[in-house]
Symmetry: C2
Subunit: 358 residues, 2 copies
């Protein structure tokens, strides 16, 4: 029997509810494939702030770092919104990504036929959307130096953030993207602002140079402003997208809303070695926390990504993906994806329905 240590970081808001459901599904899928999991649950974000006064306690980090894979719920809430920067729940994500060195963030955005009417887009535009956004996660303007609020020579305050990418940082994320595109429909679109930003010019140059190593992948480039339009005009034109940290933040949220089911979308953050970090892309939804209303499918699908990308256990992953489709095909819907004619269920019941089909 294969054994794996899984760190569970439920976090805040609906995080604990969706993690508890996803854990059961993961356990079940694993045991049917001969995998044994040792789960260890640790506080992060607002939960950690309340317990020990910091958003990312060293002990939580060390458990996460020494695990085989990490499943995270959600982070943040109104309660801590006025905290100073270093005492904000979101800093847990910031430190986790940086210190785990998970530079590649994979964010699928898929419109399931069962849920096409949940999209804001017209049916004929939304139908069949299936893209993977590969976002650089540990560089760029999120981490660049210098940064801060300084006083300039006129005694005036100046806010500074630095977008900076070294060649090797671009190359390694581009390789992940080319490999990803290769396993999908073979199309990669790199998104930048190379008509204005020097950081984007180097980005485009390096990505272009790598293309010859992936002759089976068709590479194109698009400016970020145009991409924000094209995602709405014709999202089906995209297969795999690669972009920097901040553009990826914006475009992946836009793409997720296009699918209309942000409660459905998982993500994986991977480094060169060490455990990967798997989490739903939705937030902590404090307004519905503790009410058994959350949609657990994004976290359940993150558990599937954990099996596939984190542990290389494709069979177990497939079990979960199929079980989710099964529950949807049977008409089970949480409130966020409900439409008349289906069966409205809560977070726990949705989890049980998925469990039945694993």
């Amino acid at each position: 029997k294969k054994r794996f240590n899984i760190a569970l970081l439920p976090g805040d808001g609906i995080g604990p509810e969706v993690i508890s459901v996803a854990k059961n599904v993961l356990q079940q899928a694993g045991s049917l494939e001969g995998l044994e999991f040792n789960f260890q649950e640790m506080p992060v974000g607002g939960a950690a702030l309340d317990l020990v006064g910091v958003p990312m306690p060293e002990e939580s980090f060390s458990v996460a770092k020494n695990s085989d894979a990490i499943l995270l719920g959600a982070i943040g809430g109104y309660k801590w919104d006025k905290n100073e920067k270093h005492l904000r729940p979101e800093m847990a994500l910031y430190y986790l990504r940086r210190d785990l060195k998970v530079f590649a963030n994979l964010r699928p955005a898929t419109v399931l036929p069962q849920l096409v009417d949940a999209s804001s887009l017209k049916r004929e535009i939304a139908e069949g959307v299936d893209m993977m956004i590969v976002r650089e996660l540990t560089g760029g303007i999120y981490f660049g130096e210098p940064r801060g609020i300084k006083i300039n020579e006129n005694g005036e305050e100046v806010g500074i953030s630095t977008e900076i990418y070294a060649a090797h940082e671009i190359d390694r994320i581009a390789r992940v993207a080319f490999e990803t595109a290769r396993k999908r429909r073979g199309k990669l679109c790199s998104i930048d602002k190379a008509n204005v930003l020097d950081a984007s010019m180097l980005w485009r140059k390096r990505v272009t140079a790598l293309a010859s190593e992936y002759p089976d992948v068709e590479l194109s480039h698009m400016y970020v402003d145009n991409a924000a339009m094209q995602l709405i005009r014709d999202p089906k034109q995209f297969d795999t997208i690669v972009t920097n940290n901040i553009f990826g933040d914006i475009l992946s949220d836009e793409a997720s809303m296009i699918t209309g089911s942000i409660g459905m979308l998982p993500s994986a953050s991977l480094g060169e070695s060490g455990p990967g970090l798997f989490e739903p892309i939705h937030g902590s939804a404090p307004d519905i926390a503790g009410q058994d209303k959350a949609n657990p499918l994004a976290t359940i699908l993150s558990a599937a990504m954990l099996l596939k990308y984190g542990l290389g256990e494709e069979e177990a992953a497939k079990r979960i993906e199929d079980a989710v489709l099964d529950a949807l095909n049977k008409g089970f819907r949480t409130g966020d994806i409900y439409s008349p004619g289906n069966k409205l269920v809560g977070c726990k019941e949705m989890g049980e329905e998925v469990l039945k089909s694993v």
Copy 2:
């Protein structure tokens, strides 16, 4: 009779066609209100590159700078796409904005009832959208130093761009936005990434501090990734938006696509003094250039903004706006906004139809 000098910068692609049509409409609306225009046409962008080897010739700039207002067509084309950075047509825009010091870019995004079906969004989501995006245009990551591609201590290339805002730059764009909101529905949403970027933290702090001077305006804040989602989920929640240069570039393009009629949307770029720059937000569309297929309405509506914001001639502006609605109500449509049951016309004929109603 009031006299004004108007600089016309047709630029590239469909630019000359739409400028020639808009010029006639502007002339007519002005003469009916007792205004006399002295038009001076100058090359910029690719057209200038071909003529004199630079995208923004000094003489063109000086004519523009000394005018009362500038009407620009569009810039760029495949032909110059491989040029080095300083020889790219887009640099004309970059220099014009910087040297005219037009820091406030107003970009309305409106869904006209006549055109609601042109949107990618479902009718009930698109209907009634009416927002104004106020984008900072002469600061931030577009212009910040240091920038460039440098070699680091490992001998590796590094691309650098700097997002930087001084307090006074934030204050002056925020004031334009508060004033704009005051004349609209009194709601201002400031968009930033203050949970991560120091430049955004100062942005939020300054905007918040100014709010007490505008007690009649309701101020809110939103993170840029959430804004990219909310624009699709429920665009009607927005009245006036204020944001930095790069976020404004991305979000205003996204918003324009939401209206489904990018061929309809004008823009105004204003400074503290000197002429304003007025231009459609669409590009040069080289694939349809010279074929009398372009939609001139965005440029015609830019001429209306020129009258209103550039010359303070609201009556003449209103004439143009009403004439555009008239032409649409009569069913005239260029290809980009055509739907069955309407009359398909070219650029010139659309111009003539608008002229008739001015």
